[in-house]
């Protein structure tokens, strides 16, 4: 088994219930080969480096449209990568989560190629609608880049949530599975962010850790999936009504963070307005 090809991972990719053609490509351009290579690396990190533990995986429906919504932390999207890995490695049958990624990733060589072959699309509403309409699994971090920009001491907090995901869930009549990701800010403890230099690259910021580069250290990571939420309302409801629904989802995630981060840390956890 080479680092870039794990046979067990290949078997799980084969079992994904997606319309791959005989070239191993689906209508989004997702490639079985690229998924296997990528998840082979992630699987090693998931099992051997971070020892990720998962609770509540049964809350994620085995098929059909669904939106995974959780807290974002850790400089670069380590949490996203581990959630994707948990969906492939722990779900029965395996599922591919498709995340909404920052626009600038498409501007960078190789990065653009990787995101499109693994189904991670630019965060546009039409992409989210399509993923849900196609009965796929959408991964959303409503805190966006504000979330991953959290500094170490803010790692268990929740910053402002965008409200688009709620309107999207209502329009698509898709259940939301809230999750808490614990340890992102420990693995990549950001001590400061460089915003001005990042602009040169079209990126929102560049995270700086005590060892300068945002390379993750070996800490245990936990993902807690909560019970699905079925929102009631209309996607064209006024902001006030939508914000109330956003707040309800945020509180569910906050409760999962408290449970996951442990009682002694709950004073660090606050749901900021």
């Amino acid at each position: 088994m080479s680092l870039l090809w794990d046979e067990e991972v290949a078997k799980r990719v084969d079992r994904l219930e997606l319309p791959f053609n005989r070239r191993g490509l689906d209508p989004y351009g997702i490639s079985k080969k690229d998924l296997t290579r990528w998840f082979s690396i992630l699987s090693w990190l998931y099992k051997n480096y971070f020892h990720v533990t998962v609770e509540g995986i049964g809350n994620v429906p085995p098929r059909g449209r669904c939106m995974l919504v959780g807290n974002h932390s850790g400089g670069v999207a380590l949490d996203g990568a581990m959630v994707l890995a948990s969906m492939l490695l722990e779900m029965e049958p395996p599922r591919l989560a498709q995340a909404m990624v920052e626009k600038f990733l498409n501007l960078i060589p190789f990065s653009a190629q990787w995101t499109s072959r693994t189904g991670q699309l630019t965060g546009l509403p039409e992409h989210a609608e399509r993923i849900l309409r196609d009965e796929r699994l959408l991964l959303v971090f409503p805190e966006g880049a504000r979330g991953t920009a959290k500094l170490y001491w803010e790692r268990h907090s929740l910053v402002e949530f965008g409200s688009g995901f709620v309107r999207m869930a209502l329009a698509a009549d898709a259940p939301i599975v809230p999750f808490a990701f614990i340890g992102g800010g420990d693995a990549i403890p950001t001590v400061m962010n460089l915003y001005k230099i990042a602009k040169l690259f079209g990126a929102p910021y560049i995270p700086v850790t005590p060892w300068l580069l945002p390379l993750p250290r070996r800490v245990p990571l936990r993902i807690l999936y909560g019970e699905p939420i079925r929102l009631h309302g209309s996607p064209s409801d006024e902001d006030a009504a939508i914000e109330a629904l956003v707040e309800s989802v945020k509180q569910r995630i906050a409760a999962l963070i408290i449970r996951g981060a442990g009682a002694e840390r709950h004073h660090e956890t606050r749901a900021l307005p």
């Binding site: 490509l25 351009g29 060589p109 653009a112 992409h127």
Partner: protein, 305 residues
């Protein structure tokens, strides 16, 4: 039905003309280029569509339907004349249709209308705006012609106007933008980018156009064929070699080292996908492509080598 096809000498147009002729329609054509070996009863008027003589063809023959395929890309016409051909030609076609009693006019456009950009939608619906102009100015006139054709829907409401935005065609004629790009043994790519490419077999494209006529389509429709595939896969399946080049070097290398001559804006089309959602056309007409991607590429290779 009497059908007039401006641009009839083009490879795809000839296929459309032949299919309509074989189905029993009376087919006429207007083109500056001659069509040697045209079927005997297809009359081709060797005229510029913008000239008065072209109007006389409408006046005299009163076609019931017109299929406008007389637009050109920057690959065939590299100068300012292209704007005039595409815009004035399109105006002439629609004005003549309206004045001389045609019932329907189909404008055959291109999916590159939508443009290629890092933050554009993966699957373009007909409502998406054209981003082509900022990144690829050589496509501006085709975008304008497409929009101008669409405006006939309100300017001439009694005319059934149909705008088809068709993805790249590929096949044994080895003609068209994609075929020209794939002809060379070494095909450039921008290092680190591998966008999806969408294409349809020429025969299926012609069938789609004929079906639009038969179904009396009105409105704007995307037309595509099999599932899109990454450019690298397409190049290899076509028996060619990929040549990944850093973007900066690529713009300088166009037209040299055996690479095709392309304008700088074409680089965006080598980095980002232009993929269209054709579900509206399929559900409205019942269209289904007959050739999958492998058969389409094989048809291209059977002649291109």
């Amino acid at each position: 039905m009497k059908v007039l096809i401006p641009g009839i000498t083009g490879r795809l147009a000839r296929t459309v003309a032949t299919k309509l002729h074989d189905a029993g329609h009376q087919v006429l054509g207007i083109d500056r280029r001659p069509w040697l070996n045209a079927p005997k009863d297809i009359e081709v008027f060797q005229i510029d569509i913008r000239k008065r003589a072209a109007e006389e063809v409408f006046r005299k023959h009163r076609p019931e339907a017109v299929i406008h395929m007389a637009t050109v890309t920057h690959l065939t016409v590299r100068n300012e004349d292209r704007f005039r051909i595409n815009l004035f030609g399109t105006r002439a076609v629609f004005d003549h249709c309206a004045h001389y009693g045609a019932k329907r006019c189909i404008f055959v456009g291109r999916h590159t209308y939508y443009g290629a950009a890092a933050d554009s939608s993966l699957y373009h619906g007909e409502e998406d705006p054209p981003f082509a102009m900022t990144t690829f100015p050589e496509l501006a006139d085709l975008v304008a012609a497409d929009l101008y054709a669409g405006s006939a829907l309100w300017r001439y409401p009694e005319l059934d106007t149909c705008v088809l935005r068709m993805c790249y065609t590929l096949g044994p004629s080895v003609s068209g933008t994609l075929a020209t790009f794939l002809k060379a043994q070494r095909v450039p790519m921008v290092l680190g980018f591998d966008p999806l490419y969408q294409f349809i077999h020429e025969d299926d494209a012609a069938d789609a156009i004929c079906l639009s006529l038969e179904k009396k389509l009105r409105g704007v429709y995307n037309v595509a064929g099999p599932q899109p595939m990454p450019l690298s896969n397409l190049i290899r399946a076509a028996g060619r070699t990929t040549v990944p080049v850093p973007e900066i070097a690529l713009k300088l290398a166009f037209g040299r080292f055996g690479l095709p001559q392309l304008p700088p804006g074409a680089v965006a089309h080598l980095k980002y996908p232009v993929v269209i959602d054709d579900s509206l056309f399929r559900t409205t007409t019942g269209f289904n492509h007959k050739h999958d991607e492998d058969q389409t590429i094989a048809a291209f290779r059977s002649v291109a080598g």
